[in-house]
Symmetry: C2
């Protein structure tokens, strides 16, 4: 961008995002300072996203900002952490101009306020390749309370937050808006699904309420079945999923009549939480749902064995050709 140096861009578009976070040192130093606070540990996660691979190209910069920040914060939610700060590495293409940057940084400001997180540092470089980002998010959690993928036990219930498959449908709609009519969706329903793709909701309040209660958890990015497979593999259990119990939004219920339920269970980008919990503690799920305003639905159970097996409402094994699915 002609005439505007990296320093100008940082000062104009990014330094305001660090305001109110003293450890960012105004983005003028070599590094930032982070303090988890007494009795807490820092939870750290790094994500990389590439235009055309991880998000649709030529999108509204504010939506790009929402997607990259919310997907990263979702990793904090999965561990039960509270957001603190993030660093952002941006690989700019030549066509990024002031208008794009202004809209992108406004988007970040909006999401920061919603998520309770501040910019702590980063780097901006030029690339001849696609627009790309790496976000490193920092959260805090009392020492010893981080929720891991490992820990599910035979007999544990399997549950998910929110609804599954909306983002998969929203991605399809973002690519082909005409599908809304095919699926019999109202404009509002189509907008709801598209929003679910671009602005996932990290389930922070749900998981903070579930600290110390759940045996394992992760956020669903690869698809519900594939991600349950990760819990199964890391914990050394098998998982039986009742497909009919998987919660769908009303918009997804309409769309799924024209698609396969398997698409929604393997589609990815949900950024809901899949978790396991002892049946003895099941009441805590209701409390967490009430406290956070986000439903939590029991969808299966941990069993002896390995991998994920999926049954439909009639008790028949659901045939799934996806790579995420593994047989017992």
């Amino acid at each position: 961008m002609s005439g505007e140096s990296e320093f100008d861009r940082i000062a104009r578009y990014f330094a305001p995002l660090a305001a109110g976070f003293p450890g960012a040192l105004g983005l003028t130093d070599d590094a930032a300072l982070l303090d988890p606070g007494a009795g807490c540990t820092l939870v750290v996660s790094t994500d990389a996203q590439v235009e055309g691979v991880h998000f649709l190209p030529a999108a509204d910069p504010a939506l790009v900002a929402a997607k990259i920040l919310r997907c990263s914060v979702s990793d904090l939610a999965a561990m039960g952490a509270e957001p603190l700060a993030y660093t952002l590495a941006t690989f700019w293409t030549a066509d990024i101009d002031s208008a794009w940057l202004a809209r992108f940084s406004q988007g970040l400001a909006h999401e920061q306020a919603a998520l309770g997180i501040k910019l702590a540092g980063g780097d901006t470089v030029k690339t001849p390749g696609p627009l790309s980002f790496s976000v490193t998010v920092f959260g805090t959690i009392p020492i010893g309370q981080a929720i891991r993928r490992k820990g599910a036990e035979i007999g544990d219930l399997v549950a998910v937050t929110g609804t599954i498959g909306d983002a998969f449908l929203g991605l399809k709609l973002s690519r082909q808006p005409a599908l809304a009519a095919d699926w019999g969706l109202s404009g509002e329903e189509a907008a709801f699904l598209t929003e679910r793709y671009w602005r996932p909701n990290p389930r922070l309040a749900s998981m903070i309420a579930l600290r110390g209660a759940v045996s394992a958890a992760l956020d669903i990015s690869d698809g519900l079945i594939a991600d349950l497979g990760h819990i199964a593999a890391t914990s050394g259990v098998g998982i039986v999923l009742q497909a009919g119990a998987v919660p769908l939004s009303s918009a997804a219920q309409k769309a799924v009549t024209r698609l396969s339920l398997a698409d929604l269970l393997t589609g990815g980008d949900d950024y809901e939480i899949a978790l396991t919990i002892s049946p003895k503690k099941a009441a805590i799920l209701d409390e967490a749902a009430r406290a956070s305003g986000v439903p939590i639905t029991i969808v299966g159970r941990c069993v002896a064995g390995s991998g994920v097996r999926v049954y439909d409402g009639a008790g028949q094994a659901l045939p799934l050709g996806q790579t995420g699915f593994r047989h017992f």
Copy 2:
């Protein structure tokens, strides 16, 4: 790469780099756990690097590993921090194969051991663009002791660690090996300069020894003059640099006879430290140099005003056309 999933790659090439760092959780979770320890704060820096922009293309993967990790750790050195861990976001191109990954991860293992740092997490994604990386490094420092760019005062001495300009020459030699003969360099001298480009030495020991003594510091990445300009601007002082006092390696002394000294002062990629210190504390520079085995040389002084002015050995203002240079 055919047949090897992201999970396989992480398990094979990256999980061993996290061994011995419990907070990495074996790279199987959504996030890592970092604890700065009692009385310490976490120092965090994020860097982005693109092949063909920040490092030469088609290079030995072990050298790429060295360059990206060492440049990032240099930011920790600049603040006076001790390395703890790092996360790595990698944007792989289609031509990255097992042999490349094996050599790259061996390189990281080698550098980790040299720098005292472990892999804590990250992400690997595919890109149609150039091979790119983002490294986020974590260090620890006693609360309140981080060394900043801000803090230089009028009358302070300006000093640098090591020697300046080697990496600039090493980059030229990497591109055009025939220059070694033009510059009258032995094979050893040429190799020394090339190594200085690819494997910068974060001045960790020097800066840990100087905690509490220096008034400002940064690592020299943009070029000595440009980076002194950053200290000057952030601290609200001017800096007078005596070009004749700038320490050059014997190889650089040979090469500079065919080049301009200004090239070395503006070339960048040094990853030495530029610092300011009260004249009353100058003796500590000698102690730190002895303790670390790395010379520290006084090259200038902070004055009233702003920007950087450069004088040659005869006391004449050195004309410099570089963007990094700002007049008073």
